[in-house]
Structure formats: structure tokens, C-alpha cells
């Protein structure tokens, strides 16, 4: 155990956990105000249910030795997850660090489900998804599974996290169907500062995500840090230029999106490529996601907050470019295409396809299964009213006008008075 490593990993874990509520703000700002709380709750709620399902079962399936395709139950209910070192840090901290990845991955999917999914079934879906889809894939890549064997490079989760979530999002959007207003009315972000707040905190958290994936406070952590700082800057700059070329206006939602796309793209590469390559990678990654976003909005696919374009496509760009830019002289692990190892790209493609296939089918099955038991979507009336009131009985912003206290017995009797008036109601004005 190294104190320096523990110090860093305590922070890194906290930062990654922060990403999930931060995502709630990023997403929450992009929806209409009548769905703001619901959207945020989809992230906050994810922390609760996925965190627990991970600790109780998911971690074991991902990080116990088991089979090449899935771990076993030897660590279920945190058995054998104690204070002993796992690498340079206490095992229990390692479990937490990995748990934060499961949480954010699951929460990412919510961007495709907002403004129409029932909250209870959503939570159930996430709990199952984290155990049945995320945990096995994490095992393949990081738990000593078959993709690790194969030599797939994924420093912090291009396949495990982003492609995985991006594809699950598409499936989710298709299973749920589009929002009533989608394509018929303009659905505008109600509060872009919230989105910028989310972007800022996501970036902060991502340092824990990527540099934390070194699992130590060493040179590779420093490298991953630098790449996590530089790549999204390049993506942001390219994105602003594309925006300016398109209609002369660099948008704030665009820059916030670009930062996320850059972070997504550098995720699999963070500890494997040089900082200069990171800048190139970030700049290149802007293009496919930028055009995917434009294209998606013209389709019937209501991936409401563009999880696929940002995370799916961004993850794809990143995973492939990792195979291009990886450089043994920096990472001590493997070279990529540019440094004489074209096979790495092939391996990356295999990993990508495997993840796409598994998550697409698995997500579909889970959602349909839940859909057999209970409705996935809210009623049309609730959708119109907004999910904040319909699903949570609250509004994000209230002035309190026209709100009448109910229940609080023993203090005045306004409720009573109104009841009475209602009984007496016989004519007048309405």
C-alpha cells in the first residue's frame, strides 16, 4: 500500500462519484423546466440504486476471477472486500472506485429516456443493467476477461463506459418511443447555465476518472491527467470553429457538448498516448460527433439528449484512435497504428463490436422484460403535465402562489374552509 496512491485514489473516487450528479445538472439544464427535477433525479437516483447493486453483486461479477466472460459470486455482498491492499490501495477503496464507474455509466443512459419514462421502472432497469450488462463488460476489459487477454486497450472506459452507454441509450430510446412533442414542437433547454455547471463538474470529475485509472499517483497518472486536460480543449476549439462555419455562432450548449465529447474520446486513450497525440485525438473526435448530432436531430430517433452522438460516437472515435495513437514509449504497454502496430486497431474493433452486440441485445431484453411487468412510459397526460409534478409531486421552481396547505392539523383550518366552500358551490363564475 502506498500512502500517496491512497491519497490520490480517495480523491479520484470522490471525483468520479461527483460526475453522476454533475451529469444530472448537465442533462437537467437541457430539458424543459417541467421535467428538470425528474431528469436530475435520474442521476441522483442512479447513484443510490446502482451503487448498492454494485456493492452487493456487480463488483463480484466484474472483479472476481471467474470465467473469461464473467466473474463469480466470490465477492458478493462484499465478502472478502476488506482493508487489505489491492494493488497500491485498500481493496474496499478499489471496489468503491470501480463502483463510481458503474454508476455514471448507467446514469448516462438516462439522457435518452428523459421526459417520458416512469421513475420506478427506470430505477429497476438501472439496477439490473448495472449487474447484467455493465459488470460482465467491465470483467471482459478490466477484470481479467477475454478482451483483456486479447490485448484490447481501454484505459478508463471507452468501450466499457461510453460505447456501452451510447448503445444502451439508442436501444432505450427505441423501446420507449419518442416523446409526444418530439419533432412537432421545439423542445429547448430551459437553463443552459445548469448545463455549463454540469460540464464543468464533469470535466473536474473526469480527472479522477482518467488519471485515477492509473490506480496510483505516478507518471501514468500525470500523463492521463495532461491528456484529459488537453484533448477536450482541442475538441472544444474545433467544435466552436465548426459552429462558426455553420452559422456564424459558437453556441454554449455546443461547447459544453464538445468538452464532454473530447473527454469521452480521450478516455480509452488517456494513459496510452502522448499529450500531443491527445490534442490531435481531441480535435479529430469533434467531427464525427458534431455531424452525428446534426444528423440525429433529423431522424425519428428520439435519443433526447444525444447520448449516442456524444458518448457512443465519441467512444467509438476514442477507442479506434487509441489503436492509432498508442505509443509504447509513453505507456510501456503497446503501440498503435501510427507507431507500427496496425493489429491494435483490429483488436480495438473486435472489442467495440463485442460491446455493441452484448449491450444492444442485453439492454433490449431487460427493458422488454420490465415492460412486461409494468408500463415503462408515463401516461400522455403526465407527459404533458411534466414528470416533475406527475412522478415526483414537486416543481423545480415555485413561487408558492396559489399553494394551499393541506393536512397540517391543529393549525388553522384552511383546508376545511375550502372543502366547505366547495360543498356550497352552486353557481357563479368559473
Amino acid at each position: 500500500m502506498s500512502e500517496g496512491a491512497v491519497a490520490w485514489m480517495l480523491v479520484a473516487t470522490a471525483l468520479v462519484l461527483l460526475m453522476t450528479p454533475a451529469l444530472g445538472f448537465f442533462y437537467g439544464g437541457l430539458v424543459r423546466s417541467k421535467n428538470a427535477l425528474n431528469t436530475m433525479m435520474m442521476s441522483f437516483g442512479a447513484a443510490a440504486v446502482v451503487g448498492l447493486s454494485w456493492a452487493l453483486i456487480g463488483y463480484s461479477l466484474a472483479f472476481s476471477s471467474g470465467l473469461p466472460i464473467v466473474g463469480d459470486f466470490s465477492h458478493a455482498f462484499l465478502r472478502g472486500v476488506g482493508l487489505e491492499p489491492n494493488g497500491a490501495i485498500p481493496h474496499v477503496l478499489f471496489m468503491c472506485f470501480q463502483g463510481t464507474f458503474a454508476i455514471i455509466t448507467a446514469a448516462l443512459i438516462s439522457g435518452a429516456l428523459v421526459e417520458r419514462m416512469r421513475f420506478g421502472p427506470y430505477l429497476l432497469f438501472l439496477a439490473l443493467w448495472a449487474v447484467l450488462i455493465y459488470a460482465p463488460i467491465a470483467h471482459w476489459v478490466w477484470g481479467g476477461g477475454w478482451l483483456a487477454e486479447l490485448g484490447a486497450l481501454d484505459f478508463a472506459g471507452g468501450t466499457v463506459v461510453h460505447i456501452n452507454a451510447g448503445i444502451a441509450a439508442v436501444v432505450g430510446a427505441l423501446v420507449l418511443g419518442k416523446r409526444l412533442d418530439y419533432g412537432r414542437q421545439a423542445i429547448l433547454p430551459h437553463n443552459i447555465p445548469l448545463t455549463l455547471l454540469g460540464a464543468m463538474l464533469l470535466w473536474l470529475g473526469w480527472f479522477g476518472f482518467n488519471a485515477g485509472s492509473a490506480l496510483a499517483a505516478n507518471e501514468i497518472a500525470g500523463l492521463a491527467f495532461a491528456n484529459t486536460m488537453l484533448a477536450p480543449m482541442a475538441t472544444g476549439l474545433v467544435w466552436m470553429i465548426l459552429d462558426l462555419l455553420r452559422d456564424g455562432k459558437a453556441t454554449a450548449v455546443g461547447l459544453a457538448t464538445a468538452i464532454v465529447v473530447g473527454l469521452v474520446a480521450i478516455t480509452p486513450a488517456a494513459g496510452f498516448v502522448s499529450p500531443l497525440s491527445a490534442i490531435a485525438l481531441g480535435a479529430l473526435a469533434a467531427f464525427p460527433s458534431y455531424f452525428a448530432l446534426l444528423w440525429r436531430a433529423r431522424t425519428r430517433l428520439d435519443d433526447s439528449l444525444d447520448v449516442f452522438a456524444a458518448h457512443g460516437v465519441g467512444g467509438l472515435s476514442g477507442a479506434l484512435l487509441t489503436g492509432v495513437f498508442a505509443q509504447k514509449s509513453w505507456n510501456g504497454v503497446a503501440d498503435g497504428l501510427l507507431f507500427g502496430n496496425p493489429m491494435q486497431v483490429v483488436i480495438q474493433v473486435v472489442a467495440i463490436l463485442a460491446v455493441i452486440a452484448y449491450t444492444a441485445i442485453g439492454t433490449f431484453v431487460i427493458l422488454r422484460a420490465i415492460g412486461l411487468v409494468t408500463a415503462l412510459r408515463v401516461s400522455e397526460k403526465a407527459e404533458r403535465l411534466g414528470l416533475d409534478v406527475a412522478e415526483h409531486g414537486e416543481q423545480a421552481y415555485t413561487s408558492g402562489e396559489g399553494a394551499v396547505l393541506l393536512l397540517p392539523t391543529g393549525r388553522g383550518s384552511e383546508a376545511g374552509v375550502r372543502g366547505e366552500a366547495a360543498l356550497k358551490r352552486v353557481g357563479g363564475s368559473a
Binding site: 402562489e401 396559489g402 394551499v404 384552511e414 356550497k424 352552486v426 353557481g427 357563479g428 363564475s429 368559473a430
Partner: protein, 116 residues
């Protein structure tokens, strides 16, 4: 048919609604407004900038009523919205030529008579 437009203090809204419901007035529309009258003006300071706020928050009520409902409605508002301090607001009674209930297309009296 008349349209009664009342400007009241926000903190009096609940009492006014109460009084209107007691007076059998069960349909109305409100909106947020800001008013200027004899109220003392607030001075606010933002860094080096000192400003006088000439407008105070108010609530505007629009209530369409049939003629014999004008008096009780006005009385309900007058008594419930009063604090006696400057700034209590005004009531305007405007003539209305026609009223429609959008749901049914009903006109005039029928349009403002509650359904149930």
C-alpha cells in the same frame, strides 16, 4: 358581463383566493406584475451602483363575471386584499362584449357558469 382586473399585494393572494371562493367565484386567472404607486421605494446596492427600485411586486387578477357577480367579487377583493397601508392596489371593472368557454364554445353567461 364584466372583466374585473385587480392589482393586489402578492402576500395577500391566498386570502383573496379564499374570499373569492367563499363568494362563489370559481374561475379566475392571475399573473405576476410589478406596480408603481405611492409605495416607499427600496434602495438597493450592487457594488458601486446604488439604485432605487420604482416597482414593487404585485399580482394581477383577471376575473370574468356575469353582471350580478360584480359587486360580491369586488367586495371580496376589497376586504381580503386590504392592509390599510399604501400599496394595496386597485380594482378596475371593464365592460366585456362576449365571453367564450373554449372547451365547449359556449358563450357569455354559460361560459362563466361552473360546470359541476
Amino acid at each position: 358581463m364584466k372583466l374585473i382586473v385587480a392589482i393586489i399585494r402578492p402576500e395577500k393572494l391566498n386570502e383573496v383566493l379564499e374570499a373569492l371562493f367563499r363568494a362563489e367565484v370559481r374561475g379566475l386567472t392571475i399573473s405576476a406584475a410589478q406596480g408603481h404607486g405611492g409605495e416607499t421605494e427600496q434602495v438597493e446596492t450592487y457594488r458601486g451602483t446604488t439604485v432605487k427600485m420604482e416597482l414593487s411586486p404585485k399580482i394581477r387578477l383577471d376575473i370574468g363575471v356575469s353582471d350580478h357577480f360584480v359587486e360580491p367579487t369586488v367586495q371580496a377583493i376589497l376586504s381580503a386584499a386590504r392592509t390599510g397601508e399604501v400599496g394595496d392596489g386597485k380594482i378596475f371593472v371593464l365592460p366585456v362584449e362576449r365571453v367564450y368557454r373554449i372547451r365547449t364554445g359556449e358563450r357569455d353567461e354559460a361560459a362563466v357558469t361552473p360546470v359541476a
